[in-house]
């Protein structure tokens, strides 16, 4: 099995669960965070011994709230990763405004983290409270300033639209705040009401398609006007600041994910670590691999995933790499309708097509 160039580390601890969150997180288990890092290092060591860790181009520390880990322990984790890093490797970490301060950010920067992704979600107090977010807009603004002061030259902020109660004016204010803050990268998602989340349970109505479409189009237009490229469905970057780790996912590259609930895809096989903290800690304490479920990917799965992922990107996908669509005749039809470019062995969506990417995918492919 060939070694991978992309590593994800899941740090699942949170002080509370947000209303829209469906990730693998652990609330109220902070007492076990050191034990968890030991286990994570043990899993890393196992993968290293198995020869699966190559020269790492990107590392991503996601959560949860990674900044809830003790800075010294995080630095120790980075110490163990450093020997595997390629020159100029991207090392990203997620941070929440309420859980980190200037000195902590400076320590992270010294430990080798060179890209920061801040979970802001909105700058409007009533929308933050609708999402159960703990941070205030002031904290968010301050953190952005601190991150710059700490020397982060690759700064991303995460935002959400389609929040219950969000008006067009709210969106304009968020957009203006983002442009004032001037991050290098923006991820701006529509709120998904995933089953099991507090918002879904509360019966929150989904955004009307037209409202959502207006907001989405306004965001794309506003960011593009300010010099951000719309390089992926929900991601925008100043030239040269695209997230290389995420691009690896969207290019269907192999990656290794460590920690509870983390997923790996290596050499046509995908596995997912079990989500339960106890089982994970117990297995690694006993010197075993964590409990995992495996999913083999056949040639059709791979081809359909490449189409699914590749069409998210502004640059599209090379046909020779992705393989043919299930319904090749749809290419000409969609092209004639102005939704898709199809030339010289590559397919990409037009601006209009990118807004209805999912529907186009169903025209081209049979997901069965």
């Amino acid at each position: 099995m060939s070694p991978v160039a992309h590593l994800y580390l899941h740090l699942p601890f949170c002080s509370s669960r947000c209303g829209y969150c469906a990730f693998v997180v652990n609330v109220g288990a902070l007492g076990r965070r050191d034990e968890y890092l030991d286990a994570l290092l043990a899993e890393l060591e196992g993968e290293r011994a198995a020869g699966r860790i190559g020269e790492l181009q990107t590392v991503y520390l996601g959560g949860g709230t990674p900044t809830l880990m003790r800075p010294r322990r995080l630095a120790a984790l980075m110490e163990r990763i450093r020997p595997h890093l390629a020159p100029g490797a991207e090392v990203s970490m997620e941070a929440n405004p309420e859980s980190v301060d200037g000195p902590a950010l400076a320590a992270l920067r010294r430990a080798g983290v060179n890209r920061l992704s801040l979970g802001v979600q909105s700058f409007q107090p009533h929308l933050l409270s609708a999402l159960d977010r703990a941070a205030t807009p002031a904290q968010a603004r301050q953190l952005i300033a601190c991150a710059r002061a700490a020397g982060f030259e690759d700064l991303s902020i995460d935002l959400i639209f389609g929040i219950p109660g969000q008006t067009a004016d709210d969106l304009e204010r968020d957009l203006a705040e983002v442009l004032t803050a001037g991050p290098d990268h923006v991820s701006w998602y529509e709120l998904e009401l995933k089953p099991g989340t507090a918002l879904a349970r509360a019966g929150t109505p989904a955004f009307d398609e037209d409202e959502g479409a207006d907001a989405y189009r306004r965001i794309v237009g506003g960011l593009e006007d300010a010099g951000y490229g719309w390089y992926e469905t929900a991601n925008f970057a100043r030239p040269g600041h695209e997230c290389r780790h995420s691009l690896a996912y969207w290019s269907a590259a192999d990656y290794l994910g460590l920690g509870v609930g983390a997923v790996s895809t290596v050499g046509g096989e995908r596995w997912r670590n079990a989500a339960a903290l106890d089982g994970y800690l117990a297995a690694l304490a006993a010197g075993e691999a964590p409990p995992r479920s495996r999913e083999p990917l056949d040639a059709d799965d791979v081809r359909r995933e490449r189409w699914m992922l590749g069409l998210r990107l502004e640059r599209g996908l090379p046909l020779a790499w992705a393989g043919p669509p299930d319904r090749p005749d749809a290419l000409a039809r969609l092209s004639a309708a102005g939704l898709l470019h199809h030339d010289a062995g590559a397919v990409s969506l037009t601006r209009e097509g990118r807004f209805v990417q999912n529907a186009i995918l169903h025209e081209l492919m049979d997901y069965a």
């Binding site: 994800y8 998904e192 929900a234 609930g261 997923v263 995908r270 799965d301 992922l309 990417q357």
Partner: protein, 603 residues
């Protein structure tokens, strides 16, 4: 047994007035079914019948009863269906009997259907024994309803039996009345044998089984038999009675009812209403038969998944084995592909067949709007039967269109008269008469059958809080100003959505149709104009706007599989849509057109 000790009788009752419970009690009391084996409502054997609490197939059950005179009698109970769609089966049952129990709910009183069947029984010279059931109910009013029932049949109110089939009270008295009041059969045992076929079923192992009432002579096992109308010759492979399961007896004599195993493989070969006689010693004259059952309502049935077409054909073949009134022939639609145009006795029959196809044969079906059979006279003077809107010739070739009319008899409490008359007028009804019957009004209208088949019965029930009851009979064809209303999706006519409507209703119907489709067709990659039109003239239009946003928000390493599976689930959802030209139409869109009348405005 000599004919003096035989009684053949049936039960006339409205749905839910307790016919099946009474039949069960009779079987129990006479020991035909033990307490332990007692499955509630033995006579209603089909699951659907049990679920809907209605009886579809007539059957005959023999029991023995020792009366208070010390004599043992053979009682043949012939079951009758209770719904308007199956009224023809009632006349069959009546022809095989000398008496009828008229069972009326003591809290509800007589319903239109019961009234019609009672008249049939009286016309057929049957002894009618009035029975008030459910006297245990707090709402029972035996005085009032007893008087009304007595009036109806010209009997003394004191002769109206009061029972509760549920508690068992009064059942014995019912049996005594059957023995005392129903005349014994008076067939000629020595005459050439004749029997009336009053029902038939297909048995998987025995083939076609005929239920017969022997009028004269004796039939034996092994006899060569001739059907006098069709000329068909069969052999009686087995002969017996239902007691209540098939019990061979080797012979059936004048006055008795029972069954004959014919060895036929096709139910359609045996005509119910035909007279059977022996080849060796044939009867000179056939018994009076009854009118042939003709389908009244037609619709196209199409599999949602085109691959299911052969399965649908198999399923229809199997259903036809036991339902000679179900007609079907292949039909193809540009929009829906290959399917079948089916003929039914009525809407309930249609619903039942559809439900059985979906439930018992696991098929997903699309049904087109039901319609009646029209008679079209062309400008060349030709007369064409039209059972599907697509069969309608171009308007320029049509000289006249006629449609079947029915005479509707509606019984309703006085405070519902206004609502009923409004509904009938709205549905192109022509007033005939109105007169009081007990504490209610009997309203008679002549109406186009097409208006009835749509949703008239549901509307009638909902506008009278369930108190109105309906009976109808065909009175013939009348000329109407009818037009073909087409629906266009993205510019193309969808043949499966076309319907024949009255010219005055075309605009409202078209507008409603377009609105319904607009609400049920989801937004797609392109604009979908929906239009209703007569010929080239557009009556109504809406446009389902193209999607403006359809993306999967986040997609990272952890959820690539989940996103792929989400796409698979979305695809699965699309499979339940029908691709009509370039438009994906959900099944609900077709259904919403069917239910065109359920939003309260009556159209």
């Amino acid at each position: 047994m000599d004919q003096g000790h035989i009684r053949n009788f049936c039960i006339i009752a409205h749905i839910d007035h307790g016919k099946s419970t009474l039949a069960d009690r009779i079987l129990q009391l006479t020991g035909a079914v033990s307490e332990r084996d007692m499955r509630s409502q033995v006579l209603d054997s089909m699951d659907l019948e049990r679920e809907r609490g209605i009886t579809i197939k007539a059957q005959a059950v023999r029991v023995h009863y020792t009366a208070s005179d010390g004599e043992t009698y053979q009682l043949n109970l012939i079951d009758t269906p209770g719904h308007v769609d199956f009224s023809y089966e009632v006349s069959r049952s009546l022809a095989a009997c000398e008496g009828a129990l008229l069972v009326v709910d003591a809290s509800q009183g007589i319903e239109a259907q019961t009234l019609a069947n009672t008249y049939l029984a009286i016309e057929g010279d049957l002894e009618v024994i009035p029975v008030l059931n459910k006297i245990d109910l707090p709402a029972a009013d035996p005085e009032l309803h007893g008087r009304a029932v007595a009036d109806l049949i010209g009997d003394d109110p004191e002769n109206v039996l009061r029972i509760s089939a549920k508690t068992g009270e009064g059942i014995e008295a019912v049996l005594e009345a059957v023995v005392e009041r129903v005349p014994p059969p008076s067939g000629d045992l020595t005459a050439p044998a004749r029997a009336l076929i009053f029902d038939s079923v297909y048995d998987q192992y025995r083939g076609v089984v005929a239920f017969v009432r022997v009028m004269d002579g004796v039939f034996q096992k092994g006899d060569k038999l001739r059907c006098m109308q069709t000329g068909l010759v069969v052999e009686s492979e087995e002969i017996g009675v239902m007691a209540p399961v098939m019990t061979p007896t080797g012979k059936l004599a004048a006055g008795e009812t029972g069954y004959l195993v014919t060895g036929l493989k096709n139910l359609g070969d045996l005509r119910v209403g035909d007279t059977i006689t022996r080849v060796a010693e044939p009867a000179a004259e056939a018994l009076p038969g009854y009118r042939e059952v003709k389908p009244m309502v037609f619709c196209g049935l199409f599999p949602v998944d085109a691959d299911d077409y052969p399965d649908l054909r198999d399923a229809l073949e199997k259903l036809s084995l036991n339902d000679a009134s179900l007609r079907w022939e292949p039909e193809s639609s540009q929009a829906l592909g290959f399917g079948f145009r089916c003929g039914f006795l009525g809407l309930l029959h249609m619903d039942i067949v559809r439900e059985r196809l979906e439930r018992e044969y696991d098929l997903e079906l699309l049904a087109t709007t039901p319609n009646v059979e029209y008679k079209v006279t062309t400008t060349m003077g030709e007369i064409l039967p039209v059972r599907s809107p697509t069969e309608l010739p171009p308007p320029t070739n049509i000289a006249m269109i006629e449609e079947p009319f029915v005479r509707c008899t509606i019984l309703v409490p006085s405070d519902g008269v206004g609502a009923v008359m409004k509904l009938c007028q709205d549905r192109r009804g022509v007033f005939v008469t109105m007169e009081p019957i007990e504490n209610r009004q009997q309203i008679v209208y002549d109406m186009p059958l097409a208006e009835i088949v749509l949703d008239f019965y549901d509307q009638l029930k909902s506008r009278t809080r369930g108190y109105a009851s309906l009976d109808y009979e065909i009175v013939g064809y009348r000329e109407s100003h009818l037009v073909k209303l087409d629906v266009l999706l993205a510019g193309d006519t969808v043949d499966a959505l076309s319907m024949i409507v009255h010219r005055d209703e075309a605009y409202t119907r078209g507008k409603l149709l377009v609105e319904r489709l607009f609400r049920t067709i989801p937004r797609q990659l392109f604009d979908v104009p929906i239009q209703a039109a007569i010929g080239g003239k557009i009556l109504a239009r809406e446009t389902v706007k193209a999607r403006r946003k359809d993306v999967l928000a986040k997609c990272y390493g952890g959820d690539i599989s989940r996103k792929r599976k989400l796409l698979e689930r979305q695809k699965e959802g699309k499979k339940r849509m029908k691709q009509v030209g370039s438009v994906e139409v959900p099944q609900e869109a077709f259904l919403s057109v069917l239910k065109i009348g359920d939003d309260g405005n009556g159209k």
